[in-house]
């Protein structure tokens, strides 16, 4: 357990480093007039050094945890591990692109994204978990890590896209684009709402236990970590002093997930409304000043470049290595499992992006929007497909 706790501390260090680095990137952006091609700005230099320290610490977490299992299993085998690793790779991808383009604006938005993702990851059970036989393969490690690196690089394209949109969309006038940009910000706030509500109840140590009848008409037990708004099918409380559910759900609905979801969304909405009330204008305007210094052409190019760099890596990891592994584990290289299909969808989507950009001249806003949508698809695959449309790959 020694190694495991050391590894957890390293993760905490990196988390804090990313937060601090974000502030320095803020200083770097503030201190410049424009960032056509950048620039040896002192704040920026400090920021990138802190980012790299954070990244190394994060890598330390990853390696120690790998060793800690004692089974040589890479720490990408449950939601917590995978999502944390994904956050690390996003930072890695950012560092790579920073050294090509040297734009602090990118860091100012990429690091908070990594912070949110790590925060999100910590809401899942953090213990080391053993691998079921199907997952015991080198190919799994190779496949998951390569795919995640590809997705992380693609995610940077969405960050560049977001900066581009924040800079170029007129937020003083009502428009479709303003609405959608605000929606993206709103979605991010929902994730923060989930982290906030989940950690609040975790700190309190809230638990409510129930028995219920599952889909296979058998009795099962379940523990809620949120005050139960919705009860499972034919539930009976084992902790009667806790809140009674407001409504009972049929067996096909996982009322616990629904409860978590509703709590998170509600927290997010409250948070958002508070912000709106204080600001009295779209929340996106809060972030706009940070994007104003960015050079549109450079951001547009970073967006495209990261897709170009990430797409081949993603193909290799999420499709080719995945097929090799699937062939070894399940005797078929492709099985139309939802997770596989969503990897294919992601791949097709970025193929469409590249073609639209190359041949139909979709640059600037159009391409930035596509990059943001691409990231939504990736996150959908990481989160929703795992938690909702559970297939062979479902973790936990």
């Amino acid at each position: 357990m020694e190694l495991a706790s050391l590894s957890a501390n390293l993760l905490l260090v990196s988390f804090i480093a990313y937060l601090v680095a974000t502030m320095f990137f803020g200083g770097a952006v503030k201190g410049t007039n424009s960032e056509a091609t950048h620039q040896n700005n002192r704040w920026g230099n400090i920021a990138i050094v802190i980012t790299i320290i954070g990244f190394i610490s994060h890598l330390g977490y990853f390696i120690l945890r790998w060793i800690a299992t004692g089974h040589g299993q890479a720490p990408v085998s449950n939601m917590f591990e995978f999502t944390t690793a994904f956050g690390m790779m996003i930072v890695g991808a950012f560092i790579l692109l920073f050294f090509i383009y040297r734009t602090p604006s990118l860091g100012l938005f990429a690091l908070p994204l990594a912070v949110i993702i790590i925060g999100y990851a910590s809401m899942f059970p953090r213990e080391l978990s053993p691998l079921i036989p199907a997952l015991q393969s080198y190919w799994l490690t190779v496949h998951v890590i390569t795919a995640a690196i590809g997705e992380a690089i693609l995610a940077i394209s969405a960050v560049a896209g977001l900066v581009f949109l924040l800079k170029n969309i007129d937020l003083t006038k009502k428009s479709k684009q303003r609405f959608w940009l605000e929606s993206v910000i709103f979605t991010l706030i929902l994730v923060v709402g989930f982290i906030l509500s989940s950690s609040t109840f975790a700190v309190i140590g809230y638990e409510a236990k129930f028995t219920y009848i599952n889909q296979n008409e058998q009795q099962a037990q379940i523990v809620y970590n949120y005050p139960p708004l919705f009860g499972m099918n034919e539930y009976e409380s084992l902790t009667p002093e806790k809140m009674t559910p407001l409504a009972e759900m049929p067996a096909i609905v996982n009322a616990k997930t629904l409860t978590t979801f509703v709590w998170s969304v509600a927290t997010g909405i409250v948070l958002y409304l508070l912000l709106r009330l204080i600001l009295r204008r779209p929340v996106a305007t809060l972030f706009q000043p940070f994007a104003k210094k960015a050079n549109s052409q450079v951001m547009d190019e970073i967006g495209y470049r990261s897709v170009l760099i990430g797409f081949p890596v993603f193909t290799l990891g999420a499709l080719i290595f995945a097929m090799i592994w699937a062939h070894e584990a399940w005797s078929r290289f492709w099985g139309w499992d939802p997770k596989e299909v969503w990897a294919l969808i992601t791949w097709l989507f970025y193929a469409a992006y590249l073609h639209l950009r190359l041949s139909r001249g979709w640059e600037g806003k159009k391409s930035a929007w596509l990059a943001v949508i691409g990231f939504i698809i990736i996150m959908f695959n990481l989160i929703a497909v795992n938690l909702i449309i559970a297939g062979l790959h479902s973790y936990a």
Binding site: A68, P125, L131, I320, I345
Partner: protein, 549 residues
Amino acid sequence: MSKITCQCGHENPFGAVLCERCGRPQTEEAKKSKLIDMRYEGSARRSQTYKRSIIDKIWNFFSSVKIGVSIIVAVLATSAIGTLFPQKLFVPATTEVDILAYYEKHYGFAGTLYYKLGFYDMYNSWWFITLVGMLAISIIIASIDRVVPLYKSLKKQRTKRHVSFMRRQRIYGLGTVEDTDMSMAKAEEKLKALRYNVKTEDGAILAERGRFSRWGPYVNHTGLIIFLLGVLLRGLPGFYVDEALWLREGETRAIPGAPGYYLKNNQFILDTYSKEEDAVFSQAIDRVGTIVSNYQSDVTLYKEAEGGLPGESEQLELVKDYSIIVNKPLNFDGFNVFQMDYRLDELKSMTFQLTEKASETSLGEFTVDLINPEPIYHLGEGTYVELKDYYADYDGFEDGKPKSKTPIPNNPAFFFKMVTPAKPDGEMSFVAIRETVETELNDYKATFLSAETRDVTGLVIRKDKTLYILLLGGIIFMIGVAQGSYWNHRRIWIQKGEGDELVLAGHTNKNWFGLKKDLDKVKDFANLPLYEDRQDAESSSDEVKGDNL
């Protein structure tokens, strides 16, 4: 169709937008535009040139990227719909009626609709397959439409371009310098140092780098087509074997799909993680419960001896002993045998005692093998039990007769005829688990004493000759996609203008940032005139760009 002769004297094929050699615009539209469209070098593409016959129309349809992207998006969208509810493959039902009932029960009206629309078997539906077919055709036609003229124009391009070509490039600069010859010489030196391929001609430089990256898309498209071809081939007989085999412990059977080979199951093992041995996982085990760590079949592979008659099991030669585990299939002769499923504790045999009811005395015991039962069991002294009928998976009576659901001994039932010296005509008895039916009142009964069980392993046998084709397609795709993404095709033109003037232009198919970095280095070293990026209004207004690099 007539050729177009440019002012420079070069004969261009019909449909050319820019002269292949000097780059002068050939169409009215190109002459009027401020920036020229450099994609495919303004060459004459079939799809842009011929638009009359049906073949032209089909060609043009498939070579359009707009259509190509629409097809990609259509495949994407249908694939997504297919994940809304589980596909037929994952539904635990076999008949259409049961499948429909499953969707209805689990997903209500939406489920019924999903079934009715055929979305429950999306990836085998004719429209999905048609879409993928169209995708393939589109890739092929669009590639041929472009690659040939592109190749020709890049080959024919001249070093010296006409000013009207230079002026219409995105990167363009014009200015006077101190010494044109000196600047040109230094520029050449620097460009060579930057690993450009430099050609000179009559006061003009063409520096070019990474032209091979232009073939990337065509290479990757070829990889895709090879992959899809591989998928198509699996439909042909002989390319693809996919069989299942249930093998009981101790049993030897012919391997389906692999004639001449036999497999024996020595033992099936199922291991779970234990909190003692895998202490690091104890928290997870507490939370989730039992977690399986290994499924394993210890098997022996046999081959029929040369010249032996098929099916003669004495003529088997041992090939090898192997432990098949998940992720480690048994390989032989192009076949793979995978660990896929198992059944624990299947009944192997049942032992009964024949008793006289009144005195409760035993007349002996007998054991029925549940897979290959004997017809008669002799207990000595003229006493025997005849097995009249056997139902491996008894499921109640139908029309007065017992019936068996499956041939698997899940719930065995027997018709025994019990013959003893006292009752030489025999008594009939129907014996099932916890159920005995007698037609008339018997003096004797067969009572169940004990049962033996064993595990059954579920194996899948695959042979896939197309795998190498698929892998080849994958590798070619990766080469092409890396070639097109990680390198780019940059060109820089520098020419003498009037007097002390130098004209400068640059083009790249992607990564303008990289091109400008190169240009800045050359400009500073050779003292070239300033240039502008006519698509980046912000940076040219700053006029500081590149200085800090």
